[in-house]
Amino acid sequence: MKKTDSKSTEELDKPPFFKSWKSMYWLVLGNLAFLITLFYIITRIYS
């Protein structure tokens, strides 16, 4: 019973800006990739 309750709560919790949580996760991982690339460029430019 508990399981069903929490599952329905979970389904109601749509993320903002995106249709699914998967897109939110990709946003965070994409941001990480972007930052590492940016930091790499900074390191190369200023070394």
């Binding site: 903002p16 965070v28 930091f39 200023y46």
Partner: protein, 567 residues
């Protein structure tokens, strides 16, 4: 400190504490006290998570670390966003489904009571020690720089936290952390702006970054692999990931932050918010440290940033030697002025040969200055053996005290106090909830009413706070404060994470096997810490993998034994 600084400092702290007590007055039951009635929105959770992790050590040590070692420390956080995603997908739904108060509660339903109690005890030991350091670290630095009494400073931080944490529990911790985070980031951005503004008029921001780069401070990413290198891409992505998984997935001081969320979605968003902003935040703090380094290329830095320690040498027979070193230091700085301005001019020409020549000249003088500083440290150690000879934790606060105008000094001190209070509050709240839920309520007094456990939670919060103040008062200065906290964390986190990973993902391994495996893994990690040179970030990986491997092997034999018994 000037009157305006006192007004800003006391006004800020007084407002935060009063707001926390007023906003959460009337916490009447254990659900509200330990889980904030599950009413927290995602931005409160996100800021609370960030404020919990950002202790005063972050704001004192990190700029100093950048001053000494450049930007590479930011790589330590590369695994964090990945950990946020993993926890959002796997851990949060399970904790919500079981409606747990603490992370360790889940371990009993998955394994048994002894594994739950072991994990809770490992957490209490580790976090209990860390809470003392969280108070002590800023207190020792502030008392040295400002001439305040160390015990009084420890008590001021500790008592302010105890007041609102005992009064309002988890909710008070989270609501005050929003204000504290605003003070912290606002104060640091103002400090960053001021340090750039204080650069000579002839030096632009671009020149400053280029000089920092040529002096090896813009070393943000390093892809080379070295087991003994604490901060590179690989250690950040593996050790940093494991540490973040352990810290955010199993450390009650963080778990409590998102367990108070209104729903699974709010908790997830809070964690992902941290995953998006944590690295930029650390980058900014480190960059401010690099700008302080550049500032001191044009303004004479102190010979030793902990000037109180240096002054003590003048009261000994070694005073003439210190005076001679001061003279050398000044002469080298004057010599460096021309060289640094030459480097700026060369960088503007874009002439590779001219840049290389100017860089070599600056580097030569920098090496000579470093040699003088090394002599100073040896002299301090010789003259006052009890003194700490590492001064990087004093770099930023020394700059603040010497150069920032009235009002801003008070604001930056409020940043450090806010950071100390926000981390300590989460720690005390988590220590109390783990003590009450996992030990007291589960194994000591099982059949008491709600009010009894609420009162017990308040008493344990105050008790852990008092213990943290006592520990802070008697702690001696560790080599590097931020690293000390991370090392203590890494010694225990790997094992705790291993237990939780088995719980979540390896259904084959049962309670008895994982319990023995955890004890063996902790022994392996302690051996690595005391008898090997392995960098501490790897302890997270070693402890975690050891639990998984030992657990699987033990389960195999225990399983066979059980089969023989039942055959």
């Amino acid at each position: 400190m000037r009157l305006l600084d006192w007004i800003v400092l006391l006004g800020t702290l007084g407002f935060i504490v009063s707001y926390g007590v007023w906003k959460t007055r009337g916490s009447k039951d254990i659900e509200g006290y330990l889980k904030g009635d599950n009413s927290m929105k995602w931005w409160t959770i996100g800021l609370s998570i960030m404020a919990t992790q950002a202790s005063a050590i972050t704001f004192l040590s990190t700029p100093g670390q950048a001053y000494e070692d450049g930007m590479r420390f930011v790589q330590f956080y590369f695994g964090l966003p990945i950990a946020m995603v993993i926890i959002s997908i796997t851990v949060i739904p399970i904790f919500y489904r079981l409606k747990v108060y603490t992370a360790y509660e889940y371990l009993e339903s998955r394994f048994d009571l002894k594994t739950r109690s072991l994990a809770a005890l490992l957490f209490l030991v580790q976090r209990g020690l860390a809470a003392g350091i969280t108070i002590y670290a800023p207190a020792i630095i502030l008392s040295t720089i400002l001439g305040w009494n160390l015990t009084a400073t420890n008590m001021l931080i500790g008592i302010l936290v105890i007041i609102y944490t005992v009064s309002g529990g988890t909710k008070a911790v989270s609501v005050t952390q929003k204000q504290q985070m605003a003070v912290m980031m606002g104060g640091m951005l103002v400090a960053g702006f001021m340090v750039v503004r204080y650069l000579p008029e002839s030096v632009s921001f671009g020149d400053a970054v280029a000089v920092a780069g040529k002096m090896g401070k813009m070393n943000v990413v390093d892809f080379s692999f070295d087991w003994n290198d604490r901060y590179n891409f690989w250690s950040g992505m593996t050790g940093g990931l494991f540490l973040a998984l352990s810290y955010f997935g199993t450390d009650q001081s963080q778990v409590a932050r998102y367990l108070g969320g209104k729903s699974v979605g709010e908790s997830r968003l809070g964690l992902l918010f941290n995953g998006l902003l944590k690295i930029p935040m650390q980058f900014i703090i480190l960059f401010i440290g690099v700008m302080v380094f550049v500032f001191y290329q044009f303004n004479q830095p102190p010979l030793f940033f902990n000037e109180a320690a240096k002054d003590k040498v003048y009261a000994t027979e070694f005073a003439p030697e210190m005076e001679a070193l001061e003279e050398q230091h000044t002469a080298l700085f004057n010599q460096k002025q021309e060289a640094v301005h030459g480097l700026v001019a060369a960088l503007r020409t874009d002439d590779g040969n001219a840049i290389a020549a100017a860089q070599a000249e600056v580097q030569g003088i920098t090496d000579a200055s470093k040699a003088v500083r090394t002599e100073v440290k040896s002299l301090i150690a010789k003259a006052t053996p009890e003194a700490e000879t590492k001064d990087t934790d004093y770099v930023f606060i020394s700059f603040v005290m010497k150069y920032l105008p009235a009002g801003l000094v008070g604001l930056l001190l409020a940043v450090i106090f806010s950071a100390a209070m926000s981390s300590t509050a989460s720690e005390l709240n988590a220590l109390a909830s783990t003590t009450v839920v996992d030990i007291y309520k589960r194994s000591v007094k099982q059949d008491k009413d709600n009010f009894h456990y609420l009162r017990a939670s308040r008493i344990f919060t105050a008790a852990w706070g008092t213990l943290a103040i006592i520990f802070a008062t008697y702690a001696s200065l560790l080599d590097n404060l931020i690293q000390a906290v991370n090392i203590i964390g890494s010694i225990f986190y790997g094992t705790i994470l291993g237990i939780f990973l088995v719980a979540f993902y390896v259904k084959y391994i049962k309670g008895h096997a994982v319990f023995i495996a955890a004890l063996m893994a902790e022994a392996v990690v302690l051996y690595c810490h005391f008898y090997t040179d392995i960098a501490f970030l790897w302890f997270n990986v070693i402890g975690c993998v050891a639990v998984l491997v030992f657990g699987a092997i033990l389960q195999f034999f225990i399983g066979q034994k059980d089969e023989r018994l039942y055959a």
